[in-house]
């Protein structure tokens, strides 16, 4: 039986300036089950990233209900959300967002630092993960010394290291050429096949085709949903 990991009900997100209110998300109702690979598509400004930020608990919604793993997130404080976020959610960004002053190892290690894991445990986990992702030989390098594809793989490794229940990826291939882009998509597909839930925002129909299901967003509303034929890694 499928377990609901994410469930929203009438989700709304409004941005207010002095005179006007913009509804970035409008009555979004969706369910994402554990182990799913879902992509969110739509034109620029339709609210994709906003939705991802709300689901990823970086932002709080201004209306409606959001349940994560059965817990009502919309009623929680920033601090409570941060606690859930750090142990359950991994992020992958379009611009990688690695810290330039930290090495590959140290970047990947960072979430474990905030989870107060011991140095021995951190070392073991990070090394295992870098080995698995073919980045072990780059462990002591700094982000500027890596290619875009490699940087994004490091970002994925960082997202995975705390073994989160779900990974949110915001245009993960947006800054990459097609070869490196496919490399990253294959990585996400592998993760999904090994049981990780992945939610990805993308512009690209090609990238979306790696997922099982695509949610189409328009002007802040979920307007349709497409089931993709699952494809093997390319």
């Amino acid at each position: 039986m499928k377990t609901e990991l994410i469930k929203t009900n009438g989700l709304e997100m409004a941005y207010r300036t002095e005179e006007i209110e913009t509804l970035a998300l409008n009555d979004v109702n969706l369910v994402i089950n554990q182990g799913e690979f879902v992509s969110i598509m739509g034109p620029s400004g339709c609210g994709k990233s906003t939705l991802l930020n709300v689901l990823g608990m970086l932002d709080s919604c201004s209306g409606g209900h959001y349940h994560f793993d059965g817990e009502a997130i919309s009623a929680m404080s920033e601090r409570q959300r941060a606690d859930i976020r750090k142990s359950n959610i991994g992020f992958v960004f379009q611009s990688f967002n690695l810290i330039d002053e930290l090495s590959v190892f140290e970047n990947v290690e960072l979430p474990l630092v905030y989870l107060n894991k011991s140095a021995t445990e951190r070392k073991k986990k990070v090394n295992e993960l870098l080995e698995r992702m073919g980045l072990a030989h780059r462990s002591g390098h700094f982000p500027q010394q890596l290619s875009g594809g490699q940087q994004q793989r490091v970002a994925v490794a960082r997202a995975l290291v705390a073994e989160p229940k779900i990974i949110f990826a915001d245009e993960p291939t947006g800054n990459l050429d097609s070869v490196h882009g496919d490399e990253v998509m294959n990585l996400l597909t592998d993760l999904h096949q090994n049981g990780t839930t992945v939610v990805m925002v993308t512009h690209s129909a090609h990238d979306a085709s790696f997922s099982e299901r695509t949610l189409n967003l328009f002007d802040g509303k979920l307007i349709s949903e497409t089931q993709n034929k699952f494809r093997e890694s390319v």
């Binding site: 601090r79 606690d83 967002n97 140290e106």
Partner: protein
């Protein structure tokens, strides 16, 4: 976690080298200044604190009212022993009586001139904690003609301190036996000594006269009590004492004078300037000024660091966003950045200490101290440094930490730059404070400089140029040949004149008791007094207003002739006809006087004391052959060869007595040594504060440019000229500067007025100091901004907008 923070801080510092350099350099300079001030202040505060019994030692002072009140640091000779004998709570006492000086000391065939020799009681080592290195502390100063000399003198006289004991030295005409070698005078002692001579060596007749007189202010008297004395608790006893001893003494000569006593705790002595005839003292207001300056410069450095950190914060925004996304709480971010600023202050501290080492020699020469680098690592200094680190670290780190921790992670990671709108006002306030402090420093420097210039240029009533003052040793062999020397000197065409006197402007002018004719009565008064020969007025360029100068040909002038100054006329009511008014000195209790004469001349007022003091009445006596000082007026031209001539001739006739001279203008300058120190410190500090503030301004401008790059680019695309952008950028800073001028001007005016009140002759605060400070700051601000405007003019707006 901390390791992670340290690592990233260190790498960040390395990756932004220029930022790190500027922020650390600013803090290091600030810390260096603060360390110097701390060294100075602690040293001043440590004066006399090394005496083990300091809490129980008090200096007794005497307040005499004898037709004019004088509150002296000195007391008469009987005070110490009589008090100690009558009050059991006084365990012991010690007196210090200055032997005059510099004194001629003969050791074998060698002749030295030494200062700071004191007669002292044998109880010296029971009361004070000066360390006796060789000799018996109980016996050393008991027998007449015993002398205890410092390690330094012992080494100079006898090669090694341990060889000094039992040796003989000659002071004046008497031989003294070295009975002890004492540590060198501690640099933080108010009593500065090079030798102590047993007080029993004072000639018996003189001592007897002194012991019976309660009005002859002769010695510093220190009393050791069995317990600390509560303020005022000994007052009644002192009043009773006066009634018991002084009043009967006054009755013997039938006056209505009085003497009262007062106690000063030894551990507070250094900053009590209220007594006359005191040893050199610390100036408590200068301590406060220096502490304020240190705080000013540290604040400027901290503000500078805050501005630099903020200008870097955009670069750190991504890191904050990532950390927050990965679970960092705001307090963890704050802790990280606070830690980073403490780390930077620590690095700045090390650099600051290195700077102290480099600048120690000039600092010592400015402050006349002798600090070493080791002094920086004294316990109090270490405490201060820890304080500075925490203060600077927290003060400078807290604001950037709060700003950075408040960044919105989701926005940053989407790529939008954090806006610092709500923090903008505080940033402006900081800038305002920085401007205000720098302005204050500039205004202060200009005002002090103007006052010093005024002092230098003020007409003193005499001609101070090309005058060499030669000190004449108290050696009868020399005295007998003075007139011969005078003739030899005068034969040289470069010597325009020569005069002998007991005192000279810029030196200390003695005050003695006179009787002067007032109405039809003879009234006793304490009046400044000096003696001179007949050439003094001419050589000094002092104008005679009425009457005549002294004359060799008038036999009575030496005992009966007096010249007075204009102020004396005004104060004694002699404006109508001063000549012939009666003057007496060398007063005897029976109403007689050793010198009894009349005013023969009146001179125009001249400033014989420093310009701190108002003009006072002065009586001048005639002494053609008994001078303590020779003033030689040189012709212009080759001063050095004239000096060589004076010295050569001196050595021919003065035997081993060294040639000691000083130019009169230098001597006058030394009266303002403290003010000159203040001016130098202010000068350096204002340059440094301007420098640090300019760094901060530079950083803030680059920060503003970065924040408003899009706006500038759009304006440029739409046709704005570089000058338009300059106006846009500069307006905010200029407005802030103007507000700072308005805010600081009254404060500066008030503070400088307080300082100027130290002088009887002073400038009114120069209005141009405010204008100059404002213009200078404006110039520096404009120059700083110009760099960024130039950068803006070169930037391609299309590129910026594409990036946006």
């Amino acid at each position: 976690m901390i390791k992670n923070y340290l690592k990233i801080s260190w790498r960040h510092l390395r990756s932004s080298k220029s930022y790190s350099l500027v922020s650390i350099a600013g803090l290091a300079i600030g810390i260096c200044c603060a360390l110097f001030i701390a060294l100075y202040v602690f040293d001043e505060l440590s004066y006399d604190q090394f005496h083990d019994k300091k809490d129980r030692i008090y200096r007794m002072t005497e307040m005499i009212d004898h037709n004019g009140e004088i509150h002296a640091a000195l007391t008469s000779v009987p005070v110490g022993p009589t008090y100690a004998a009558e009050y059991p709570e006084i365990e012991n006492y010690v007196r210090f009586m200055w032997m005059g000086g510099p004194l001629t000391v003969k050791v074998g065939e060698k002749v030295y001139r030494e200062n700071n020799l004191w007669y002292s009681d044998s109880t010296l080592f029971d009361v004070m904690s000066f360390k006796l290195l060789h000799g018996d502390s109980k016996e050393a100063l008991k027998a007449p003609h015993s002398v205890v000399i410092t390690e330094e003198l012992a080494a100079k006289f006898f090669e090694a301190p341990e060889k000094a004991l039992g040796q003989s030295i000659r002071l004046g005409t008497l031989d003294f036996n070295v009975t002890g070698v004492i540590e060198n005078s501690p640099s933080n002692s108010d009593i500065v000594y090079s030798a102590f001579v047993s007080i029993t060596s004072v000639p018996e007749q003189q001592m007897q006269a002194l012991t019976q007189d309660w009005f002859r202010l002769t010695c510093y008297t220190f009393l050791l009590f069995d317990n600390p004395v509560a303020e005022g608790s000994f007052r009644t006893k002192m009043d009773e004492f006066s009634k018991r001893h002084v009043d009967p003494f006054v009755e013997t000569f039938g006056g209505n004078s009085s003497a009262r006593f007062d106690l000063q705790p030894l551990n507070k002595l250094h900053f009590d300037n209220s007594r006359e005839y005191d040893t050199a003292k610390g100036n408590p207001s200068y301590i406060s000024i220096f502490i304020i300056l240190a705080l000013f410069i540290l604040t400027i450095a901290c503000i500078n660091y805050v501005n630099l950190s903020l200008s870097q914060s955009i670069k750190r925004a991504k890191e904050v966003g990532v950390r927050k996304t990965l679970g960092a709480r705001p307090h963890q971010i704050r802790f990280q950045f606070l830690g980073e600023s403490i780390l930077i202050s620590l690095i700045a501290l090390f650099l600051g200490i290195a700077l102290v080492e480099v600048l120690l020699t000039p600092f010592n020469s400015i402050t006349s101290k002798s600090f070493e680098l080791l002094d920086v690592f004294d316990l109090k200094m270490m405490g201060t440094m820890l304080g500075i680190i925490l203060l600077v670290g927290i003060l400078s780190g807290i604001y950037p930490a709060i700003v950075l921790s408040s960044f919105d992670a989701s926005n940053i990671l989407r790529g939008s730059l954090p806006k610092l709108g709500k923090f903008g006002n505080l940033r402006r306030v900081l800038m305002l404070v920085q401007f205000a402090f720098s302005l204050f420093m500039i205004i202060g420097t200009i005002s002090i400089f103007s006052q010093m210039k005024y002092l230098q240029e003020k007409e003193l009533g005499f001609d101070k140029d090309q005058l060499v003052i030669i000190t004449i040793p108290q050696d009868t062999a020399v005295y007998n040949k003075l007139s011969y020397l005078k003739d030899v000197y005068l034969n040289n065409p470069n010597v325009k004149g020569i005069t002998g006197s007991s005192g000279i402007p810029g030196g200390r002018t003695g005050e003695i008791m006179f009787r002067v004719e007032q109405d039809v009565e003879m009234v006793e008064k304490n009046i400044k007094f000096m003696r001179m020969d007949e050439d003094f007025l001419g050589i000094m360029g002092i104008d005679l207003l009425k009457g005549r100068n002294f004359s060799k040909d008038i036999q009575t002038d030496q005992r009966e002739g007096f010249i007075v100054n204009e102020t004396a006329l005004k104060q004694f009511g002699w404006m109508e006809e001063p000549l012939g008014k009666r003057v007496q000195w060398g007063l005897q209790p029976n109403g007689g006087a050793a010198f009894d004469g009349k005013v023969v001349g009146v001179v125009e007022d001249f400033h014989f004391a420093s310009l701190h003091n108002p003009l006072e009445p002065l009586v001048i006596g005639y002494s053609p052959n008994n001078s303590l000082l020779f003033s030689v007026k040189l012709a212009g031209g080759n001063i050095q060869s004239s000096l060589d001539f004076l010295e050569d001739e001196w050595s021919k006739f003065a035997g081993n007595n060294p040639f000691e001279y000083q130019f009169l203008d230098d001597r006058i300058e030394t009266q303002y040594a403290q003010e000159n120190t203040l001016l130098t410190v202010f000068g350096y500090f204002s340059v440094l504060s301007i420098f640090i503030a300019a760094l901060g301004l530079f950083a803030l401008t680059s920060f503003t440019v970065e924040q408003r790059m899009k706006e500038f680019s759009v304006r440029k695309v739409l046709g704005a000229k570089v000058s338009d952008l300059g106006k846009l950028l500069g307006k905010e800073f200029v407005v802030l500067l103007l507000i700072a001028v308005v805010l600081i001007a009254p404060l500066a005016y008030y503070a400088i007025n307080i300082w100027l009140a130290n002088f009887s002759y002073r400038i009114s605060i120069p209005w141009f100091s405010f204008l100059a400070a404002a213009l200078l700051s404006l110039l520096i601000t404009t120059l700083t901004i110009s760099y960024h405007i130039w950068q803006l003019s070169k930037a391609n707006p299309a590129r910026t907008l594409r990036m946006e």
